[in-house]
């Protein structure tokens, strides 16, 4: 019975649109026929030109300054050693990111729980791992064998083991890197996730409780999807930070992208071209993640926005369509009122 026109009705008249007695001043000229002269933004133009000049100058130097060593760059960009380093970088990011965010979610929930024990354990974890520099954590994990030569199960408070391992074999370089990165990541993501959960309206919890929804449903189906909107921008920040932050594990001689680059340029002294290799790869990863971020955020915007923003592809298609339509039209000035009505109609459908 109530249709779309009526819902958005405050703007548009609902009934008798033909007979709307709008007050029209008959004496005013018909502005629709006039040509519009836009304001000239001279300062904007001058600064725009300056910036453009600087950018072009830089690009020109990139192309012409042979110290950048583009041929060396090209030979190493897909070199097997580099690709192996990339594999490790991405592997570390995925593993540490996954463990970090899962553990972070648990920590955030513990921090918000009513249990004082869970709450304080979670608080202490976050406090500790945010306090100790990641570099130090990595070195400690890597040298754990020095503190605890053997790890295993045994009689508490004694050195009698039923079952044990050499710490050095158990905590390899890779394991030390994963431990350091993911525990650190967990501490930071916990706070991000907690912030997201806190941003969900209390009424949502009440409604979920009134419906008798079990706790896991309340968390997974009601709260986290809504918290996701606040969590995601920060979470992507963290992942992008992590992917570059993995370069810190080069201190424990783990052969990820940055370490491999260093090894190569120490051998052949081509520092800049090889640094460029890793920079361009990091830029590629970040670009892919940024694009992913757009789509993931768009997915979680369902229901939060009345109209979900178009994807770049949809926007481009719409733009081409309007330009095409404009070409078809007569070159006469488009009637403003007509443009407005099409827009409102487009929103409603």
């Amino acid at each position: 019975m109530t249709d779309i026109v009526q819902e958005y009705g405050s703007a548009a008249p609902t009934e008798d649109s033909s007979a709307t007695p709008q007050v029209v001043n008959r004496d005013s000229p018909d502005f629709a026929a006039f040509t519009v002269v836009h304001t000239r933004h001279y300062v904007r133009w001058i600064f725009g030109a300056l910036v453009l000049f600087v950018v072009l100058q830089f690009l020109w130097s990139l192309a012409t300054n042979d110290k950048y060593g583009w041929p060396v760059f090209a030979t190493y960009f897909f070199a097997p050693a580099i690709l192996k380093g990339i594999q490790l970088t991405l592997g570390l990011t995925v593993v540490a990111g996954t463990i970090g965010f899962l553990l972070g979610t648990l920590l955030a929930l513990a921090r918000l729980s009513k249990s004082p024990i869970l709450n304080s354990v979670s608080w202490s974890f976050i406090w500790f791992f945010r306090s100790v520099p990641l570099l130090v954590q990595l070195l400690v994990w890597y040298n754990l064998g020095y503190l605890y030569p053997r790890l295993g199960l045994g009689v508490p408070f004694t050195d009698n083991y039923f079952w044990s391992f050499d710490t050095v074999t158990l905590v390899s370089q890779f394991a030390a890197a994963v431990l350091g990165l993911s525990l650190n990541q967990a501490a930071y993501s916990a706070e991000i996730i907690r912030g997201g959960i806190l941003s969900v309206d209390q009424g949502q919890l009440e409604a979920a409780a009134a419906l008798g929804l079990p706790r896991h449903v309340r968390v997974l189906r009601i709260i986290l999807p809504q918290a996701a909107r606040a969590i995601l921008p920060n979470a992507f920040n963290e992942i992008i930070g992590l992917i570059k932050g993995t370069s810190i594990v080069s201190v424990i001689a783990l052969g990820e992208l940055f370490y491999v680059t260093q090894v190569i340029y120490n051998r052949n002294q081509q520092v800049i071209p090889l640094l460029l290799v890793s920079v361009v790869w990091y830029i590629i990863f970040t670009t892919v993640l940024s694009i992913a971020q757009f789509y993931v955020e768009r997915h979680f915007a369902r229901g939060a926005l009345r109209v979900v923003p178009p994807t770049p592809i949809q926007a481009a298609r719409a733009w081409v369509k309007t330009q095409w339509a404009r070409l078809d039209e007569k070159p006469a000035a488009p009637e403003p009122s007509k443009a407005a009505t099409t827009r409102i109609g487009g929103n409603g459908s």
Binding site: G212, P225, R306
Partner: protein, 269 residues
Amino acid sequence: MSIAATHASDTVTTPTTRGLVDIRGVSKSYAGHDVLHDVNLTVQPGEVVAILGPSGSGKSTLLRTINHLESVDRGWVTVDGELIGYEQRGDRLFELKEREILKRRTNVGVVFQNFNLFPHLTAAENIAVAPVALGRLGKADARELALGLLAKVGLADKPDAYPRQLSGGQQQRVAIARALALQPKVLLFDEPTSALDPELVGEVLDVIRDLAKLGTTLIIVTHEIGFAREVADRIVFIDAGHILEVGPPERVFGSPKHPRTREFLGRVL
């Protein structure tokens, strides 16, 4: 996950009484400030009770104690003889596990003043989420149920709209359908129309009017005096945490006994 538990609840659908709410000697205070003061009220199965009273008198708090969203300091509330938060064994009351409280809570549906629909779920999903989560229905059946309930509240054409794409009145009708999805014995309404434009109030009241005819126990906090007079079997007037007056609408509106009631009605009528 809790399929076994909820199947058990399915077998208990042949109650002798449906929706008897008994509120006995309920008191509640926040930081020394008395909000409810020795409140006694029995609502018969199928009865429609409207709670009136000035702002801050404790109407919402009373409603929230009925389904244990708010705990009480003294007294107790039962629905069909069951305490929602506790279990009686001999002369002791054992506080129930959360899961058990949740199960008992499904006997009491709530419709909030500001709807509290889940914004990231469509209208149909909002309705279907609880029956599915409680293991009462499969996904397909729950959607079927949701579509049926949406049709009942006059929104057959909006199953896939998100709450923000709906008008206030439509959202409140979805919220009512959501509460109905669990087939509660008692429905609580906390000022269901006070966040709505006057134009939209009517469509929500129509739905509640239909429910009143179906024999669900309804407890409605409202400022719509005309509506209360029309649908309620009894009117309860609360002021400053005290129930001052209970009686059929004709009596309470026609010849209020308490001077505070007279004063309040004089202002709102």
